[in-house]
């Protein structure tokens, strides 16, 4: 298959899919349009499921290679990862994801591990937080003042002083923070629109292989 065909067919599929989804969103194209819309979206959901499987395959491949090469200091952890992965998949397939056995394994391993990670993160971050909360200039003073007022206003401590700090914190949140967040969201939305137009026009081809992008 020539390079032009390898490039044109995916671009054409992308163009048609995006145009159909946009048209069906804004216009009533009858039962056919509705069916097409639902089908395309269902395809995307199916692809997302397949992507999960692809992720597992990719992870397994990476770590099997590491084990085969006996990478110093790494391969033993890869053995542990592959063993845990196969064990959990095996239990899930044998007993089902809704089973007591699967839940027990998850609650005994993943839950405590993730909670431990979170706790460790706090322990590492706290000294760094202490280091950065130093007033060096007017900007850092404004930041620390805002942090102080927000924490005291949002926390049970602030209630000891009446509604003052809650009102100040609320103002910081609903006026200053909201203004900034609105700016972010509008900017991101504009960026997404530009990216979509580029995808429709075929200018954005990062999803194609390098040798066919031209």
């Amino acid at each position: 298959m020539s390079t032009i065909l390898k490039r044109s067919v995916p671009l054409a599929i992308t163009f048609m899919t995006v145009i159909i989804l946009i048209l069906t969103f804004f216009f009533n194209l009858g039962p056919f349009g509705e069916t097409l819309d639902k089908t395309l979206i269902a395809f995307a959901t199916i692809l997302a499921s397949a992507a999960l499987g692809l992720g597992i395959i990719n992870t397994t491949k990476t770590h099997v290679i590491r084990i085969a090469k006996r990478e110093k200091g790494q391969w033993i952890y890869s053995v542990a990862l592959i063993a845990a992965l196969l064990f959990m998949v095996g239990v899930g397939l044998l007993y089902g994801a809704a089973s007591y056995e699967y839940s027990l394994l998850f609650d005994a391993t993943v839950g405590p591990f993730k909670a431990t990670l979170m706790a460790m993160f706090i322990v590492w971050v706290t000294p760094a937080f202490v280091r950065i909360t130093r007033i060096k200039n007017i900007n850092s003073m404004a930041l620390i003042t805002a942090m102080f007022l927000t924490v005291i206003g949002q926390s049970p401590i602030g209630t000891m002083f009446g509604p003052v700090f809650a009102n100040i914190s609320g103002w910081l949140n609903t006026v200053l923070n909201m203004g900034v967040q609105r700016g972010f969201k509008i900017t991101i939305a504009l960026g997404l629109i530009v990216m979509t137009v580029r995808i429709i026009l075929g200018k954005e081809r990062s999803y194609l292989r390098k040798e066919v992008t031209g």
């Binding site: 819309d37 639902k38 979206i41 269902a42 995307a44 959901t45 692809l47 997302a48 499921s49 992507a51 999960l52 089902g96 994801a97 809704a98 839940s103 998850f106 609650d107 993943v110 839950g111 993730k114 909670a115 990670l117 979170m118 322990v123 706290t126 000294p127 937080f129 202490v130 909360t133 130093r134 007033i135 060096k136 003073m141 620390i144 942090m147 102080f148 924490v151 005291i152 949002q154 926390s155 049970p156 401590i157 209630t159 000891m160 509604p163 809650a166 609320g170 949140n173 609903t174 923070n177 909201m178 967040q181 609105r182 972010f184 969201k185």
Partner: protein, 274 residues
């Protein structure tokens, strides 16, 4: 000061800070105390929103958080289920996060007093994990049966009584998403609130980023961690898990405030002494 003459603070700063932090967090466990609860606007909004729903309303409850956030979410979820089941709400649960089904199972195990009074299939159902993020949500809202054919236990949806009159997203009266960060939050605003006009609420730790949508597209926005969950528990009259965490939140915030003040005072002192 040379390296050999560094003081105790400079040498052992990290350990001193972590040690003091541990002392702060251990204190309320060793010596529990209660703090006052002042009801804030956001918790009141959520309470009023749920109260405004008709009896027997169809609710979509979404588990979008990972295992590490369960302690944060447990209180607000239990309080919400307690509240909505007082109004005989029909709760359809789903997850767009891979950890969601396990979080559902965990809540099933911790909120026994609530789930035991209700019947699976009639008062609640869990449809499992739906991949695809916002696309999965879009597909689900457009056509539930076309997207999901069975619940988490494998029973066909058509055999579940609660799903009898729920076919499309518009059949839901209220959507409540529990998540950490903002992974799906914008997606819910785009695909649920703005397209279908369904009442939408979030309980999320990164909620500040959703403030622009509040209160028009997002009618209730609760940050569980600083105590909003405890306020909601107080409003429904059932102090629970979140209220019991208030003391720890209190000392945690106190520690942060002391660090902020301490840093500021030390810098001012250094500048004045130069």
């Amino acid at each position: 000061m040379t390296g050999n003459q560094r003081g105790i603070w400079d040498k052992y700063r990290q350990y001193i800070i972590i040690g003091v932090m541990y002392l702060f967090y251990v204190y309320p466990i060793v010596q529990p105390f209660s703090t006052g609860i002042a009801i804030g606007e956001k918790a009141q909004n959520l309470y009023d929103l749920v109260e405004s729903l008709p009896d027997g309303a169809n609710i979509l409850m979404v588990y979008d958080y990972s295992a590490m956030a369960f302690p944060i979410m447990q209180g607000i979820q239990e309080a919400f289920l307690e509240h909505i089941w007082r109004k005989d709400g029909n709760v359809v649960m789903i997850s767009f996060s891979p950890d969601g089904p396990m979080m559902y199972k965990k809540l099933l195990g911790t909120y026994v007093q609530g789930f035991s009074k209700k019947e699976y299939g009639k008062d609640w159902v869990f449809l499992g994990y739906l991949p695809g993020g916002e696309t999965g949500l879009t597909s689900f809202m457009k056509d539930i049966r076309g997207t999901i054919s069975s619940d988490f236990e494998g029973d066909p949806i058509d055999t579940i009584p609660i799903m009898e009159n729920i076919n499309l997203g518009t059949d839901f009266d209220f959507v409540f998403d529990f998540e950490t960060g903002v992974t799906m939050a914008d997606g819910f605003v785009r695909q649920v609130a703005s397209v279908y006009g369904i009442k939408l609420a979030f309980a999320m730790s990164g909620g500040q980023m959703m403030e622009p949508y509040y209160p028009d597209l997002v009618q209730a926005l609760v940050y569980p961690l600083p105590g909003r969950a405890a306020e909601y528990e107080t409003l429904i009259g059932v102090p629970g898990n979140a209220t019991s965490q208030l003391a720890i939140i209190f000392v945690g915030n106190l520690f942060i405030l002391i660090v902020l003040l301490g840093g500021a005072i030390s810098q001012i002192y250094k500048r004045l002494s130069k």
